[in-house]
C-alpha cells in the first residue's frame, strides 16, 4: 500500500514488439469487472437448471421452474416453465382486466352503452380489435366493405337492418342472401329495361322509354321483382333484399362502370345469374354473447346505425 494514496501508473505492455517500436498495452481488468463477468457465467449456469435450455435430440432439458396456468377449458395445470403457459397466464390476466367492462356491457341496454363515454370508449378500442380479428377479412379494415364480397358497414344502407337488435341477430346467426337467376325467364331486352329502370333512380341518363318499360316489368308478375325488392324498390330488411334506389351497390359494380352500357351490363349480370353468395357465417358459436353485444354497438357506431 502506498502511504501517499497515489495509484500506480505504469503502462504495461503484452511484451510483443512490431516494427521495432510498436507495442500493445496490456491494461489488466479491474477486479469488479472480472467478478461481474464471473457472475454472469454463474447466472447462465443457474439459468440452465431453472429454465428450458439445452436441446437433446428431439427434446430439450425442461428446467426446475414450474408454472401454473389455466387453459381454455378452465383446467388448471402445473407444468415445466414455458412461454406458451406464460402467455396463457397473461392472457387470462388481460381477460380478467376486461371482465368488469364486459359485465357492464352485458347488463347495460344498447342505447345506454353508447351514451356512457367510458363504456363507449372501451367499445371503440375493444371493438376495433375484435372487428379486425373476426370481421375485417371480409368487411375490410374499418368496415369499408368490398364490392362483390361484403357490404360496407360504414354507410347508412343496411341490407338486414341497422337497429341494434337486427345487427345483433345478424352477427349471432349469420345471414344468407339469395336472389334467383332470371337468365332463362327474361329476354336480354327485358333485362336492359329493368337495368335502365333501376339506373333512373340515380339520375343516370338512360332511355326514358326503356326505363318506363322496366318499371312495368318490375311490378309485373313476369319478373316479379317487387315481390322481394318492394313496390318502391327500396328493399325489404326481412329478406335482406337490396335497396335499389340509392347509389350504394354491393353485387352489381355500377359505380365502376364508365359508360351507361357498362352499368347496364353490371346489373344485367346479377339479374341473369341471380345471387347465392351473400353468406355471412354465424358467430354465435365462436364469440361470447358479450363480445357480440360489444361488436353490435361498435358496428352501430360505424354506420351511424338506425
Amino acid at each position: 500500500m502506498s502511504v501517499n494514496n497515489k495509484q500506480p501508473h505504469v503502462p504495461q505492455t503484452t511484451g510483443h514488439v512490431w516494427d521495432g517500436d510498436l507495442q500493445e498495452y496490456n491494461n489488466p481488468l479491474p477486479n469488479w469487472w472480472l467478478i461481474a463477468f464471473y457472475m454472469t457465467v454463474v447466472f447462465a449456469i443457474v439459468y440452465w437448471f431453472m429454465y428450458p435450455a439445452w436441446p437433446i435430440g428431439r427434446t430439450h432439458t425442461k428446467g426446475l421452474m414450474m408454472i401454473t396456468y389455466t387453459n381454455n377449458q378452465g383446467v388448471t395445470k402445473t407444468v415445466h416453465w414455458n412461454t406458451r403457459a406464460l402467455l396463457m397466464e397473461e392472457t387470462n390476466e388481460a381477460v380478467a382486466a376486461q371482465k368488469p367492462y364486459y359485465d357492464k356491457i352485458a347488463s347495460t341496454p344498447f342505447e345506454n352503452i353508447a351514451k356512457d363515454p367510458e363504456l363507449n370508449s372501451f367499445v371503440l378500442s375493444a371493438g376495433k380489435a375484435l372487428f379486425s380479428d373476426n370481421c375485417a377479412p371480409c368487411h375490410q379494415q374499418g368496415g369499408a366493405g368490398k364490392m362483390g364480397l361484403a357490404p360496407n358497414l360504414t354507410d347508412d344502407d343496411w341490407l338486414w337492418g341497422g337497429h341494434y337488435k337486427e345487427i345483433q341477430q345478424t352477427i349471432t346467426n349469420g345471414r344468407h342472401g339469395y336472389m334467383p337467376p332470371f337468365g332463362s325467364v327474361l329476354s336480354d331486352t327485358q333485362m336492359t329495361q329493368l337495368a335502365d329502370y333501376i339506373l333512373s333512380f340515380e339520375k343516370i341518363p338512360v332511355d326514358p322509354a326503356s326505363a318506363q318499360a322496366g318499371n312495368a316489368l318490375f311490378h309485373s308478375e313476369t319478373a316479379a321483382c317487387y315481390y322481394c325488392h318492394g313496390a318502391d324498390a327500396k328493399g325489404r330488411v326481412a329478406h335482406g333484399s337490396a335497396n335499389l334506389t340509392d347509389g350504394i351497390w354491393l353485387w352489381a359494380n355500377v359505380p365502376g362502370g364508365k359508360t351507361v352500357a357498362d352499368k347496364e351490363s353490371a346489373i344485367k349480370k346479377v339479374i341473369t345469374g341471380g345471387l347465392n353468395k351473400g353468406v355471412m357465417p354465424n358467430w354465435g358459436e365462436r364469440l361470447s354473447a358479450e363480445q357480440i353485444k360489444l361488436l353490435t354497438v361498435y358496428e352501430h357506431d360505424l354506420g351511424g346505425g338506425q
Binding site: N5, P30, N31, W33, Q140
Partner: protein, 479 residues
C-alpha cells in the same frame, strides 16, 4: 527496466485503498453544505404532504400505475413526456456549459456518487478515527478492535444504503402507507426488489468502488476532456511557482524561507504530500489535469492550509486556467465567459429553458386530439352525401370531472353528427375516445375540405377553447 511480460502481470489490477485525510477550508465547507442540502431534500421530500382533490396527497410522487407524476401543483401525464426529454436536454447542456466554464463542478460537488462516498467517509472517520488511525487499523491483524470497528462501519453503511433505497421507493407511493406495508411484509414485490438492489448498489458503489465508478463506469468522467478548453477554470497546480527551476523540495536546512528557496532555484511546493493525502480520487494534482480528477477542490483547501501554516502565499493549487498558468506570470484567475462555446451553450440553455417554462405554464387541463379515420377515408351515403369520420380523444388532466362539447362552427348546420353523445363527461385523469361523423353534400365539399373542430370545456371556463384543424376527404380530393 521493469519486467512487462504477460507472466508477471496479474489477471486483474489490485486497487490500492484510498484513505483520505480530513481537511478544512472553504471547498470542504461548500461540499458539506451541498451534502446537507441535498440529503435534506432527498430524505425529507417524500414526507411532505400536499392537499389534492384527487390523487395521492404527497408533494412529490411518481404514480407509475396511475400513470401520472405529481410535483407539487403540477401533474404530469405520459403525453407530457417531451418535457422529460427537454429537461434531459437542458440538464446535459447545463453540464456542458458548467464544464466549459469551471470544469467538472458537477462531479466534485453535486454528483450522488461523490455525495454518498463523502458520507461513507464521514462514517469511516467517525468510527475508525483520522487517517493515521485508519491506516493503522488496515495494517493491524484481525482482533476484537478491528472486527468491532470495521463491523460498525459496515453496519452503518448498510443502514444508510437501506434508508437511501427505501427513500427512493417512497417517491413512487404514498410514503407513510408504503413504509408501514414495507415493514409488515405487505408491499409490492417490486418495492422489495428495488430496495434490495439499491441497498446493495449504494453499499458497493459508495463503500467499495468509490473513485472506480468515476474512472471506469461513468461516461461523463471520460468525455469531459473534450469540453475543457485552455481558458476553462480548472483545479490546477501552478507548476511554475511550485517547481521553480530545480523542482519541489521539502523544507529542511536553509530551505525554510521563500527567499532562500527562490535563490537556489526551488519552487514554493514543500512536497508535504497533503494534496495527495486529502484526494478522494487518489491522484496527485501536481501531475497536471487528469481524467481521474473529480474537481472537488479538497487539494486546494489542503494546500492553502499548509501554505498558511508555513507563511507562504496561498493559492499554489487553485482554480485557474491552463492558459493563465502556462503564461509563467499568471494574472489573478478570472472566469472567462466571453467565448463562443460558452455563449453558444448559454443561448441553447436559455432557449430550451424558456420553451420548457412556457410549455409548463401553458398547460391546460384538457388535452385533445382529432384523428381522421382513414379506413375508409370517406363513404357515400344513400342520399348522396359524403361522410368522413373522426376519432376524437379527450383527456381531462384537471382534478375534477369535466364536460366537453365538440362543435364545428365552420360547417353547415347538421353536418356534424355526434350520435347520442351531445356532450361528453370525462372523469378526472381519464382519457376518452369519441367517434364523430361529418356529412357534407357533394357541392359543399370544395368549400369545406379544410375546417376546424372546436372543443371547449363546459365545466372549467378557465380552460382554453381548443381549435383543431382538420380535413374533409372525398373522391374529389383523392384524385
Amino acid at each position: 527496466m521493469e519486467d512487462n511480460t504477460l507472466d508477471s502481470i496479474p489477471l486483474y489490477e489490485k486497487r490500492i485503498p484510498i484513505v483520505p485525510r480530513t481537511v478544512h477550508g472553504k471547498f470542504r465547507n461548500f461540499k458539506t453544505g451541498v451534502l446537507v442540502l441535498a440529503y435534506s431534500v432527498f430524505f425529507l421530500l417524500p414526507w411532505l404532504r400536499w392537499h389534492r382533490e384527487n390523487g395521492i396527497p404527497q408533494a412529490v410522487v411518481f404514480d407509475v400505475m396511475g400513470r401520472r407524476f405529481y410535483i407539487f401543483d403540477l401533474i404530469i401525464y405520459p403525453q407530457n413526456v417531451f418535457w422529460l426529454a427537454l429537461l434531459l436536454f437542458i440538464a446535459a447542456t447545463f453540464l456542458f456549459f458548467a464544464t466549459t466554464l469551471i470544469g467538472r463542478a458537477f462531479c466534485g460537488y453535486f454528483c450522488f456518487q461523490t455525495l454518498w462516498t463523502d458520507t461513507f467517509m464521514f462514517v469511516e472517520k467517525w468510527v475508525q478515527g483520522e487517517r493515521p488511525a485508519r491506516l493503522k487499523l488496515i495494517k493491524q491483524p484481525w482482533n476484537a478492535e478491528k472486527i468491532l470497528k470495521l463491523g460498525a462501519t459496515h453496519f452503518i453503511w448498510l443502514l444508510i444504503s437501506f434508508w437511501t433505497a427505501l427513500t427512493f421507493v417512497l417517491y413512487f407511493g404514498y410514503a407513510p402507507d408504503l413504509v408501514h406495508r414495507f415493514f409488515i411484509g405487505q408491499a409490492n414485490s417490486t418495492a422489495y426488489f428495488t430496495v434490495l438492489a439499491l441497498t446493495l448498489s449504494t453499499y458497493a458503489a459508495a463503500g467499495f468502488m468509490r473513485e472506480q465508478i468515476c474512472a471506469y463506469i461513468c461516461p461523463y468522467g471520460r468525455f469531459q476532456s473534450v469540453m475543457y478548453e485552455p481558458a476553462t477554470l480548472a483545479i490546477a497546480y501552478d507548476y511554475h511557482r511550485g517547481e521553480g527551476k530545480e523542482g519541489r523540495v521539502p523544507m529542511k536546512g536553509d530551505l525554510k524561507s521563500l527567499e532562500t528557496r527562490h535563490a537556489q532555484g526551488h519552487g514554493d511546493c514543500i512536497d508535504c504530500g497533503i494534496c495527495v493525502q486529502v484526494c478522494p480520487a487518489g491522484i496527485d494534482i501536481r501531475d497536471g489535469l487528469q481524467y481521474r480528477c473529480i474537481s472537488c477542490g479538497l487539494c486546494i483547501d489542503g494546500c492553502n492550509e499548509v501554505m498558511s501554516s508555513v507563511g507562504f502565499p496561498r493559492g499554489l493549487i487553485r482554480y485557474d486556467s491552463e492558459y493563465n498558468i502556462e503564461s509563467g506570470s499568471p494574472k489573478p484567475p478570472h472566469l472567462s465567459w466571453k467565448r463562443l462555446k460558452v455563449l453558444g451553450y448559454l443561448v441553447v440553455l436559455i432557449g430550451m429553458s424558456t420553451l420548457l417554462v412556457v410549455s409548463v405554464l401553458h398547460q391546460t387541463d384538457m388535452v385533445d386530439s382529432v384523428q381522421q379515420i382513414r379506413q375508409p377515408l370517406f363513404v357515400e351515403m344513400s342520399n348522396g352525401e359524403i361522410r368522413n369520420r373522426y376519432e376524437v380523444r379527450l383527456t381531462n388532466e384537471s382534478d375534477a370531472d369535466a364536460v366537453y362539447q365538440i362543435s364545428t362552427p365552420d360547417l353547415p348546420a347538421g353536418a356534424l353528427d355526434l350520435g347520442v353523445m351531445q356532450t361528453v363527461r370525462v372523469h378526472s385523469g381519464e382519457s376518452i375516445l369519441v367517434d364523430v361523423g361529418v356529412s357534407l353534400e357533394p357541392d359543399q365539399i370544395a368549400k369545406h375540405h379544410k375546417f376546424n373542430f372546436v372543443i371547449k370545456s363546459l365545466t372549467n371556463p378557465k380552460d382554453d377553447v381548443e381549435v383543431i384543424p382538420s380535413n374533409f376527404s372525398s373522391e374529389l380530393s383523392a384524385s
